[in-house]
Symmetry: C3
Subunit: 296 residues, 3 copies
């Protein structure tokens, strides 16, 4: 029996039998080789210290599961894949998260481990995937985006910090220097067609077909030999993954800049405008992030 | 007189005067600086030990020819560029091929040498280029694909092995990690427009214009200074070519996995379905490769 | 007060108050954080030793300006962004340019320094950007091109030399080996849509919207925190910029090949055809460069 398992009658979210009781996502184990993870943390799927702890547990199980070939990460909220990181007024809790097995901060650790896991990981993206949400998608092996609803972005520079979860390392390798600098410095949203054009996602797929196409891809991977997948991915990892040493400095910079006066003012302004809620600010964060700048 | 030469009256396939008598491709030397190589190994242009031996001879002549600027590789069969590698029921013959001048297995050796040769190499792709056929195209400097008929893919993972001829090293550098993992792990076919979008080929060109456009490009290169081409390519080689050491481990893995029970069963099933012949299986191998999996 | 400054009433080209009196471009400092540089060297914006000296001065000011977030480089001539390098019948003057602070030739030096500067640089490209003009655009952080009028290319190989200002290092990292070899070896023009498809530019934008879109991007960057921009760019630099040592050998090769008989003949032929003037040759240089080859 595999570590991430479901009862034979499992046919949807919430019906799996788990030793874990995760609260920010649900699991649908469609077969020994195929698992779906659905983010479900209302109202907008922010990533918090709790999400990090739960994802780290999940990643540990994924790594240890000899039967698993593919994990698909999607969202229960069609408007928000993963909004962004939120300290929920308790930044101390995030800072106090113990480092993971790689020795890195828990967030970096779980992203690095997903990228290395001997399993194909797929982000199936509806709605907004910004900041840490984009970082999560970038750590997955493949990204498929709803043509009509996906919005990806790294808005951090617009709020006065560097993006700390690895996109400075991952994006340039994926989309090239010019487009990476546009995504990271201009810090605006990229919709499905633009994300596809830039290589930020593998493909934009019409929303009505997204679930079917991703399911077909995953079901296909589930039928293939585990070792062929794991070894082939390992060769690609050797050529494409950033060195571990590339990640911690940007995260340290991110934490250091969080405390600076300008950033605190921008953060307070964003709170007033609707940060962390299903607000127009969050729906249009790429465009509206400039409203938090001092001269706004 | 250049090492790869043709009689003055040479105006098509087979009319060249050669010391070699190659059987899996023909040569049309259109001028001192411009050579066309047309794969012609019925019924579907599989690559066999014979193809490898003949291509290795050809590459040696290409490397040594001071007049040659450009080589175009196309196919006499509009439905198959190069189907894939085929041991033709004699895997021992492939295993016994002596290593090439680089010290690597003859197949890796000739691909590496084409990539490094001081000559522009162009794959003009009609029909299927899968497995080793895709590996050959990836070793060429440029790839132009028929918009309507080209199908590229690395189906190997679908048959229970790793792709061993270098695509784990070359594809990620060409199309980025996300799309490379999709091509290699999902192991499906990519048509001309998708291959163009992903950067798998330089461009997809309407089939009716493919020959003219590629010929114009090649004729242009033929007029340029050999040294300017060779030196410019050498600078790009320094930045883009995988280290030689990246190639042999994946090929060793490929040979090792060939003997495993699951792979042998899949291979036998593919034989039954029409492997190596101009069958529906070969025409739709990307889609149908899953029929060889144990649960099919 | 910042090193590159303008009077409060500055509202267009030429009204800035400068210590410098540059002749090949004008400056519009739209605010402390936002500067526009407009190439204006009739008739076709060639780059000469004078341009290099002036740009090197400008780059020094950009590097030293703590208020500056973004510099946009555009052209006063809608048909020519930067035509190419021109020695103006005095190659000795170019050769005699003293090396810059990096120790490299003045041209390489200023390109490397723009790429590293803690400021976002944007090339807004109308018309032709070929040879050194393309090299300049490639050294900028982002490139936006007029969909209808932009033509980018590295024609150097067509004239019998290697491109010496870095595109052999920068292009492969931006567009991949296959497309880089096509751009550099085939040496033809790439229009806006093709340049976008290949990743040679970030995006092609309809000409009527180019100025507005680039201005919106730049105005947005001007409102962001300087340090967040500078640090984020620095992380991307670590991952994407070629080593300094990659640049000088190709430039040395370029200078060495300039003196060879074939190249001198091609150069003389290009002079006869209209080189350096607003001629049909210059407008169609990608196509017509073959007219300079010995067999033409």
């Amino acid at each position: 029996m595999s570590p991430i398992d479901a009862s034979p009658s499992n046919n949807g979210r919430g019906s799996a039998t788990w030793s874990q009781s995760w609260t920010h996502f649900s699991i649908d184990r469609r077969g020994p080789a195929y698992c779906r993870v659905t983010f479900d943390h209302p109202p907008i799927n922010t990533i918090t210290a709790t999400t990090v702890v739960e994802l780290a547990e999940l990643v540990g199980l994924i790594e240890a599961d000899p039967d698993l070939n593919v994990v698909v990460f999607d969202s229960a909220n069609p408007a928000f894949y993963l909004a962004h990181y939120d300290t929920e007024n308790d930044p101390g809790r995030t800072a106090a998260l113990p480092p993971g097995p790689t020795g890195m901060h828990a967030w970096l650790d779980l992203l690095v481990r997903i990228s290395r896991a001997p399993v194909a990981s797929i982000a199936s993206i509806r709605g907004r995937a910004r900041g840490a949400g984009s970082e999560f998608a970038l750590a997955c092996d493949m990204r498929f985006a709803s043509r009509e609803t996906a919005l990806l972005g790294q808005f951090e520079v617009g709020t006065g910090v560097v993006p700390g979860g690895g996109p400075t390392a991952r994006l340039p390798r994926l989309v090239g220097r010019g487009r990476a600098l546009e995504i990271l410095l201009v810090a605006d949203d990229f919709d499905g067609p633009r994300a596809e054009q830039y290589g930020y996602v593998n493909r934009a797929i019409p929303d009505a077909q997204l679930d079917d196409e991703v399911d077909q891809i995953a079901a296909r991977l589930a039928r293939f030999d585990h070792d062929a997948i794991a070894r082939t991915k390992a060769y690609v990892n050797d050529v494409t993954l950033p060195a571990d040493s590339e990640f911690p400095p940007a995260l340290a910079d991110f934490f250091g800049m969080l405390g600076l006066p300008r950033q605190r003012e921008q953060s307070a302004r964003l709170q007033e405008l609707g940060w962390g809620t299903d607000s127009d600010l969050e729906r249009s964060l790429g465009r509206r992030v400039v409203e938090s700048t001092p001269d706004a």
